[in-house]
Structures are given as C-alpha cells and as structure tokens.
Symmetry: D2
Subunit: 228 residues, 4 copies
C-alpha cells in the first residue's frame, strides 16, 4: 500500500451521526477537507456502510474490526475477504471497545496482510503498543482508554505515554507507523501528537460529534501541515 | 411485517461462495426460485454485503447477528439501526456459531423490534427454544449444533427434538413462527420438517455449497408446496 | 437435597472482608445467627475458600460459579466435581457479574444436578427468570443488575419485578424455589421480599460490608420468622 | 521469590485424576520425586484444591489462572489475593485453554507481582512469547496449542519454535525464565527442551494421566540433571 503518513483516521464507531447515508455524507466532507489541504485522511465506518462509503469517496476506508476467521461456517462473523470485497482498504484491530485475545490480534494482522488490508492495531499503554508492534501491523495506534471520548487529548494530558510508546514501539519495530488517539479535539492536540513523534491520529467523537465536522477536521489538517 | 410462513431462509455464513458479488448473484438465484414457486424465501448475507444484496433483490434480507448495543461509542459492533439502514428486514440472533449471553438475546430481540427488524432466534434444544420464545421474537429456529453442516437432517435424524421443540415453544408462546435447521439438504428433509409442525427451515451449506444452489432450493420449494 | 426454604444466601463475591481466613470467620458468624434463629442460611465464598469454609461450618456452602466443562484439558476452569470435592453443596449460575451464554446456563444446571450440587440460577428480569426456570434448577434468583450493591432493595424499589417474576416463573415451573436479591439491606427488605411470594433472598454487600454482619443478618432472620 | 531454574511445573488442568484428595496425593508424589532428585518441581491444581495442596506439600503451588480484577463485586471471579491466601506461590496466565485479552494478560502479571505471586505467562508462538515477555512476568511458557496433549513433544517435533522463542524472548527481556511445553512425555523430550535454551518445562497429561506419574516425573528429573 501507499504509506499513509501523516494520516488522520476518523472512526465512525456506532454513532447515528455516521450511520447509513450519513456515513456517506460525512465521508464526503472528510474527503473534501483532505483534498483541499493535501493531508491524507481516512474513515472507518460500520461494516454495513463500508460498501457505500467506499463507492462514494476516494480516500482510504477502514473496517472497525475483523474476526480472525477464515471462510467457512462462521455465522455472524466479519471475514477479512468480505471487508475487502466491499471496498475497504484496511481495518482497525483490537480497539479498546472491541478488545481481542492476544492470539486473535496476531491472527487478524496476518489475515489483513494476506487479504491486502492495511492493519491499525490499537493498544492502551506503551508496553502493549510494543507488544502488538511485534505482530508487524502497518500501524499501531496508542489510545489510553481512560481518555477516549473525554475531549482531554492524550497528547496534552499524557504526553509521556505518547513519547514512551514511540520509544518502545521503535525499539522493537522501527518501521511501523504510529498513530495516537483519545480525546483529540483541537488542532493543537494534533500538532502536539505529531511533535511527540507520531505519524498521525485516530479520532472519533472529536470529529463525528462536532457541530461542523469539516471545520474541526480542517483545523486538524492545518496542524498537520504546520507539524510536518 | 408480513408473516413469513412457510419460509425458507438461506444463511450465507462466511462462505466465499456467498461473499461480495457472489452474495448478490446467489441472492438473485434464490429470488428467482422463490418467485417461480411462489414460496417465501430469504437470505442472510454477511454484514458488508447486506446493502448490495438488499439493493439487488426483492426478498427478505437478514443480518446474521446484531450486537445488543445502542448508538454510541461501540467500535466494531453491529448496530441494529445500521443493519436496518443498509436495507435488512430482519436478523438472526444467537446462532450456535455466534452464541450470546441470555440477557443479550433478550436485548437483541427488543432492539430488533424497536428498529423494525424481524428476529429469528436460534436455539439448540427444545428447552432452550422455549426459553428464547419467552422473549417474543418473530421466529425461533431449532438447530441442534451437532447436526449443522453434516448433511444429516435434523428432521430425519432427530424428529423428536423438532416435535418436542414445537410442543414446548407452543406451550409458552402460541404465536411465534418455528423454523428448523441443521443438515437440511433434500426436499424430503424440508417436507419432513413441515410435517413435524414447523413453519419453515433455516439452511446454509445445503444450498450455498451445492453445485447448483437453485436446483436444491427449487426442490425445497416443491417440498414446501407439497407439505402445505 | 433438603429443601432450603425460606433461605438466606450470603454471596461473598471477591470482597477482601470475606477472603481467606476472613471467609471462615464470617461463615461462622453467619452459621451462629442461623442456629440461634432457626432460619436456614448459607454462604457462597470464593473458589479457593470453599474447602476451609465447608470444613469450618455446618451450613450450606455454594460456589459462585461453575464452568460448563467436564473433566479433562480445561486449564483455569471450575469443574463441578472439584467444587463438590471441596465440600460445596451448591453453586450460583449466571450471576450478573458472571453472565453466561444461554446454552452454558442449561449445561451448568445439568452438571450441578449430576454432581449433586444445588443450583441457584440468577436472572435480571421476570422474563429471563422464567427462561432459566425452564432448565429446572433448584432455585431461581431474581436480581435486577441496576439495584445490586445500591442499598435500594429490589423488594421495596421494584416490587412489581418480584411479583411478576414469581408469576412468570410459577407459570412455567411450579416447584422451583425463588430467591430475590439486589440492594437488600434491612429486615424490612427481607420481609417485603417474602411477602411478595419469594422463598428467600440472595444478599452480598448488605451483609459482607456491614460493620456488624451478624447483626444485619440477625435482623434478616427475624424478618423471615415474622414473614413465615 | 527464589528463582526456579531449572523447573518442572505440572499442570493438573481439570483432570479427575488430580481433583480433590487425588490432587494432594499426586502433589505428594511429585514433591517426593523433586526431593529425591534435587530438581525444582511445582504443581498447578484447580482453584478449589489449592489450599489443601499447599497445606500438604512444601513445593511451589500455582493457580491455573487469575482474573484481572481487584477486590470488590466480582462474583465468580478468581482474585489474586484469594489465590495467595489459599497458599499459592504463583499462577499461570493466558494458558491456551484459558486465553486472555492482551490488556488482561498485562494486568494479571501486575496483579500477580503486587500480590507476591510468581507469574508464568503462556504463549503459543515465538512472536507472542516475546510480546508477553514485555509485561515482565517471572516466566514465559511456550506452548504451541496444536501439540498440547498429543504426546508429540514440542522440543522434538518443532525445535525451531523453541529456539526462535528463546531468541525472540531474550531480545526483549534477557532475564525472564523460559519454560516450554506441549506433548512432553519422556525424559528425552525434557533434555531436548533444556538443550534448546529453556529453563524448564510445563507438563500436564504426560504426568497426570500416566499410569505411574512418579516414574515419568523421575525420568524428567534425571533428564534435567543430565541437561544441566
């Protein structure tokens, strides 16, 4: 894949503001901000919305999760091939709201690679970020669960965890991209994150639940350009 | 919803033969067989395929699972509203390959109802079929896990479990529709199931993995007409 | 087993006040209150404490959970035979803090019966209480999760759920004992529970975390005698 | 704690041959073999048997699992303090039959340390062995799940996974002890394991299900002395 750096990935979670047609509308706004600024942006809609989002925009589309299953009798599971066939370019793995057993994290990264999906593995601490980096995903995302959705940005509230994560991840895997997330809501938060050595951010409510998501994201993109 | 009786529901599981565009192709074949025979048929594709399947055919489309979550911060979960927005008419709940905690079964049925989705709750024994019937889903599906995918039909191998299920379910819930499944592969299996008092069948590999799915399903539909 | 009615069962959870030797001390106090009042009382200590508690007192001892596994390669699981061999007389099943898949509830009740353990299956709503009563456990315990640990007693705050549970449970299983729990902290709460048609209570923090557990339990026993 | 190297740890799983009084009997046999040979040996009985085993023998006793919970309202969970109070010296973590989410592995190791329990974290591949070594447990145990219980020893069937594990674990954590397991059934298997750079073995059915466990274990101890 083309290396996505610096990268702003917007996780739609199961917010109604980003469900169904509204997922497509929001994705188009995000695409426009990316195009205007020249910053790489992506979206992670719900499974059922991947196809229409991927058909509607020309930016990277991520699943929020895949199951570590291969084709077969797995009713109700999310097959990597299915996500890929719908047009996804990548997938989140082990988000704190969808935590996985250690073995399944590793399997999911391998399944993503085999299927041609970019993998972004989430971890809540510096130590665990290094642990998942050993599975050689494309990206690692540091997200301290206690800050998710708070509006208090990890890059401001707990810069140590970001620098420590960067250091530990780099010591075991020099080439993986490093995102950070949790509480990111202003351009300053994004700027701080990049200055701490990360390659981008993972954001959700800060954009999705904003009155004007495109304006918030535009301020993030400006910060990225400033932080380069 | 319109009452679906007798009903043949085809579960696509995560079979590659029924993933992506092949999910749409298979659904069209199933739709054609249903239209030609006049028998009610439906499909349960993977999450990522719901939208294109629902856009491509005019038969009931079911999700294979929903999570018992409401809109919000639930990365990687399957929201009932999302399934509905993609065009689904219903959802399976508690399939033996995606078993749920008791409370989540009940919540899922309620979420399905609130969202306008027809619920089909699976159970592996007569006693558990009655237990889930108490949550007042639209349909209950009896599927002894030990027969799933074997080609040995529950209606032939273990007719007692079907009659016992019908009896127990009816004793606590006279109005719920009753499907049966597991190992169904011939018209005779379908005929036997209806004669045992069920209102239809839930089938997967027997149709999806068949060399000519439309011929297998056509034989099922003939059996339904004979069994009426 | 001897029918335990009316019955006061004290769940020790993982409270430090009821761990190790303190589990034995508390059990002895509970035994004394039961003996003095003539009311049937029991305790549910942690797995590691079952043996010493069972060796130290002559009242029914319950495990807090069993896994639905049979002897074999199940590292880290709780085998019914192991619980029994340690001296337990029964087990809780499906407590809201240790919820089970529907099939595992049913299996656990059967394993308990085969092993000679009295089963107490918990459920959070009237409907689910009836559902688990279909598995024919020895007792059902109604515990609305939202009231657990609050000190606001289910029998006072939500008497309807208790009467509805009793009605629904009785309609599918006339012989099962019915306990109720959540927020029980005074004799009045216990008296109210019995008057609503239950056969006893399941209590935890109300006794375990009390400054003088024996006094609280004594007031419960008085209420039981009054409520008979 | 005293460093346990080389170390032979016998996991009792939920085998009836090692449940209740038979857990104590087997532990005494194991203790005798250890004393006679001078090799460090330990046992991992079921939760309910920890206390009587710890009271009956003077060798290290391990729990098979702890939950990553702190004291409080956690019905049915295994509290580290409870395991410790029963006399355990350590605990297995993340056995392939009781796999944990990544975050819970890390929390369990920390809880073990805080409670004074020696932690042995299991992993099925070299990469995952390194990942869990980052949490700085006392020991890591490599156990490829596909060989567990087969009688085909990992140290003979797949020596590469053992050497690769040792190499990878050492690269991120030079001081952790390394056990290996799965299929170990003869002294030769044990000797091979030590020669591959491990510090001991984790064995279950090879000893527990043997006609004469003490003889099998004695042959293991001889191999350890030879391999030193």
């Amino acid at each position: 894949m083309v290396r996505l750096e610096p990268f702003l990935l917007v996780n739609f979670k199961t917010y109604l503001e980003a469900t169904g047609k509204r997922a497509v509308d929001l994705s188009k706004k995000i695409e426009a901000v990316g195009r205007n600024s020249g910053v790489k942006v992506g979206v992670a809609p719900q499974f059922c919305d991947i196809e229409r989002v991927a058909a509607g925009v020309d930016i990277p589309v991520f699943a929020q999760h895949i199951d570590s299953v291969t084709p077969g009798a797995n009713t109700g599971h999310v097959l990597a091939e299915s996500v890929k066939a719908a047009g996804a370019d990548g997938t989140l793995v082990n988000h704190s709201e969808r935590p996985l057993q250690l073995l399944d994290i590793d399997k999911s990264v391998q399944l993503a690679r085999q299927t041609g999906l970019t993998s972004v593995v989430c971890a809540g601490t510096a130590r665990l970020a290094a642990a998942v980096a050993l599975s050689e995903p494309d990206m690692v995302a540091i997200e301290p669960p206690e800050l998710i959705g708070t509006g208090r940005a990890v890059s401001k509230e707990n810069p140590e965890i970001v620098t420590e994560s960067v250091k530990r991840v780099r010591s075991v895997n020099p080439s993986v991209s490093i995102l950070c997330g949790a509480g990111i809501s202003t351009g300053e938060d994004v700027y701080a994150a990049l200055k701490l050595g990360t390659n981008g951010i993972l954001v959700a409510s800060g954009v999705v639940k904003a009155a004007k998501p495109e304006e918030v994201l535009a301020s993030f993109c400006e910060a990225v350009l400033r932080g380069k």
